[in-house]
Amino acid sequence: MSLQDIALMAHLMRRAGFGATYQEIHENVSDGYDHTVDHLLDPNVSDGIQQDMLRRYHPDHSGGLGTAGMAFYWLHRMVQTQTPLREKVALFWHHVFATGYGKLAQGRVLMDQVEMFRQHGFGSLKTLLIELSRDPSMIIWLDNQDNHKGAINENYGRELLELFSMGVGNYSEDDIKACAQAFTGWTVSNAKYMKMRADNDSLWPYGRLNLHFEFDEDDHDGSEMTFLNETGVFNGEEVVDIICRQPATANFISRHMYNFFVADEPPVPQWPYREPRDPEAIQILSDAYFESGYNIAEMLRVMFKSEFFKSENVRSEKVKSPAELVAGVLRLTGESRKLTPKLQGDANLLGVMGQQLLNPPSVEGWHTGTEWLDTGNLVERINYAASKFADVNKPGIKEMIGRLAADAGGVATPETLVQDCLDQMGAISLSKTSMDALLNQASKTGKSEIGTDERETDEDILGELLRLVAATPDFQRC
């Protein structure tokens, strides 16, 4: 098992999931890289989530679900799942199709949207966009219940083109109007009342009422239109079909995928003015898009197996989102292997770090890359990771220390000690600056007698070292 194989697998598991433990990485390397990619994409693998337990302990998940409960639920899945790519892809679509609680005051319907991403997020983009257009939370979020025959509200039509499929500069204002026209009558049942309940954030007297899609044929404007140079009578489905045929759509979705899984791109509004970082990669993904009939899973398969994904140039290149950071730490510390109410504290911290799940700042979603970071939330991020890894009572940390001690077998040089810690924390690689600082620290503690009978000494030394690895700038990256 070569070090290169291990480093590559660690990279895959960070990007296609939320990182992996030392054993998982080794097991996956034994299975082979391509096999691991295929396994991650296999829809028949069970996620192993205990839905029944979740509902038993958290009855709020049936009804009055707010931002706290939603974050708990989703973080629990990210930490527990045996199909991490499914959660990662759902998170990807949530980043792209950002929909927020603020305007809806309805958690259930947002969780339904995420479940829709799990279900359709790997299939054809066409199906996904149609499902998105029928999604009740999206309808309210972008005011499509106000999009009437004879009184068009362009909000959804515009964002579908601008943010969800093609990107600015690839269509005209008339196309936006036509697009919006095609979605007239795509609404929710009892729309006025439901909108009023949302505006009033109303629990009374019925609790949170779920929203349901309804196509109101009488309110649909079925007159002839010209959309992206095609003329005819188009309903929403036909418009989505035309959108999916556009090279601009292939490029835009490919760039989103690259930005989320491969390397940080500038914020979306700058895309029309700035070339992709790796135009060749975008071309490969766009080709996969058309060759597979708009199939997302096939694009992902091509991407994960491509040289541009495996390249050293993109390793640890991204800044972790708060969800990646927190879920990644928890998967390693093992403290949430069983469902525990303590996870709520971790879930709440996502908001503190700037990513309140299901409540993005706007329809543009979160700006990523270095935009995740400011002085306030960097302190939160570092303190979070560092204190978790220094807690030698957590099961995952206990196991790490046990293995570190066994490997050291009595004596360890600072070099091997630091290297072993990096391996145990998911085969992390460090910049030279960070490595030097850690070696300095490791030699300062003076003790390199690890793995003798004195468990407490091992814990002291290794706990501090794990803390500092988690505090490196490198650990903030993905």
Binding site: T370, D374, G376, I382, A390, D436
Partner: protein
């Protein structure tokens, strides 16, 4: 001493959850108030009279005292067009000063950028609480966010001082030397060092502080004590932010609302006493706001989300009095069962920005708004 604009600080207290305006500034001489508020009301005997017509709710004595000194401006009927009764959305509107659009920049973050355009002081804006409120969030504007001033900083969980110093030393090596890396590494290094520097400077504040004022134990009082500590340490902080709540009193309002206003009044009373003890009272204006008021009618135990509310501007430099109009309680004047707002919240923002902080308000609050004359000359 009259403060110059460069000395002036703005302290913002956000009442989260939607404060019940009618039970804060009580129209106790108006029969319609008791008709609508059959159970959730403040009795005339409890009210602290303001002007023979309105009064503060009970347990607001410290604010009543400040009112007596002419230091409290009550902004009545404050709000924005087309009220939204969702907590998140409404708070967002207050934070971004954009009622009709979803905005990305906080109004105070913009103000901080104007106060310190080059971002030279990482402490120009300081938030007390975890997580940055959107009001303070603007890309590239450093704002410190302090959960607890006593333990603020990196590795705050390490109790042993020498271990912590060692860890911080390693941290400084890692982040201080990160400028040799790629752009992301440089950014991480800079941000990490800013955080370290901010924490270092802030951590000196409590030690320099002494006062005879004893703040209460509730979180707001403790935050206000931290505000005082940082303010007296003269670290160049101009905007302070904190919040208290939850004011979302759908049920059991009478007890909860009373406790909340005891907390808020005591915290403000103690803080202003502290300012006076240190001769700094002329430098500070306090803005107290909430995302919306509550319904005119009670629901038997509490009140549901409404619109139109009150804000307060408090300080020795403030020209105390009633501003705006108290909205009519008559049914025909209501807006879907709520009080009708009569002055835009950006009027108050613009007033504070221009008359207090000496900034051009229009680009910060997204437009030109009439201003109050809120300050003594």
């Amino acid at each position: 001493m009259v403060s110059t604009k460069s000395d002036r600080k703005l302290v913002v207290i956000q009442l989260s959850g939607g404060n019940d305006y009618m039970n804060t500034i009580v129209p106790y001489t108006n029969g319609l108030y008791y008709d609508n508020r059959k159970t959730v009301n403040i009795q005339p005997t409890e009210v602290l009279d303001i002007d023979g017509e309105y009064g503060f709710r009970s347990h607001m004595e410290p604010i009543k005292d400040l009112w007596g000194q002419g230091d409290v401006a009550i902004i009545n009927g404050i709000g924005y067009p087309t009220p939204n009764r969702s907590h998140f959305r409404s708070m967002d509107i207050w934070h971004t000063a954009l009622p009709d659009d979803i905005g990305n920049e906080g109004w105070l973050g913009r103000a901080i950028r104007e106060l310190d355009p080059k971002g030279e002081n990482v402490l120009t804006g300081v938030n007390f609480g975890r997580g940055l409120p959107r009001a303070l969030a603007v890309r590239g504007v450093p704002v410190a966010s302090v959960g607890n001033l006593e333990t603020y900083g990196l590795f705050s969980d390490i109790s042993d001082d020498s271990s912590r110093d060692l860890a911080l030393e390693t941290f400084a090596q890692m982040y201080g030397n990160a400028n040799g890396g790629d752009a992301v590494m440089k950014f991480l290094g800079q941000t990490g060092m800013d955080a370290l520097k901010g924490a270092d400077i802030l951590s000196t504040a409590p030690a320099k502080y002494s006062s005879t004022v004893e703040y209460a134990a509730d979180p707001l009082s403790q935050s206000m004590r931290s505000v005082a500590q940082v303010l007296f340490a003269d670290l160049g902080t101009r905007v302070f932010y904190t919040q208290h709540g939850s004011f979302d009193t759908h049920s059991g309002e009478s007890a909860t609302h009373q406790q909340l206003w005891m907390d808020v009044s005591a915290a403000i009373g103690d803080f202003t006493a502290d300012l006076k003890e240190h001769g700094r009272e002329d430098e500070v204006a306090i803005l107290v706001f909430t995302e919306f008021g509550r319904r005119v009618k009670d629901n038997g135990s509490g009140t549901d989300h409404g619109s139109g509310g009150a804000a307060f501007v408090i300080g020795s430099s403030v020209e105390g009095g009633m501003y705006g109009e108290y909205p009519s309680l008559k049914e025909q004047d209501q807006l879907e069962g709520d009080l009708h707002y009569n002055n835009d919240f950006r009027t108050t923002y613009a007033t504070l920005l221009e008359q207090w902080l000496g900034l051009e308000a229009a680009p910060i609050v997204n437009g030109h708004f009439e201003q109050f004359s809120l300050f003594k000359n």
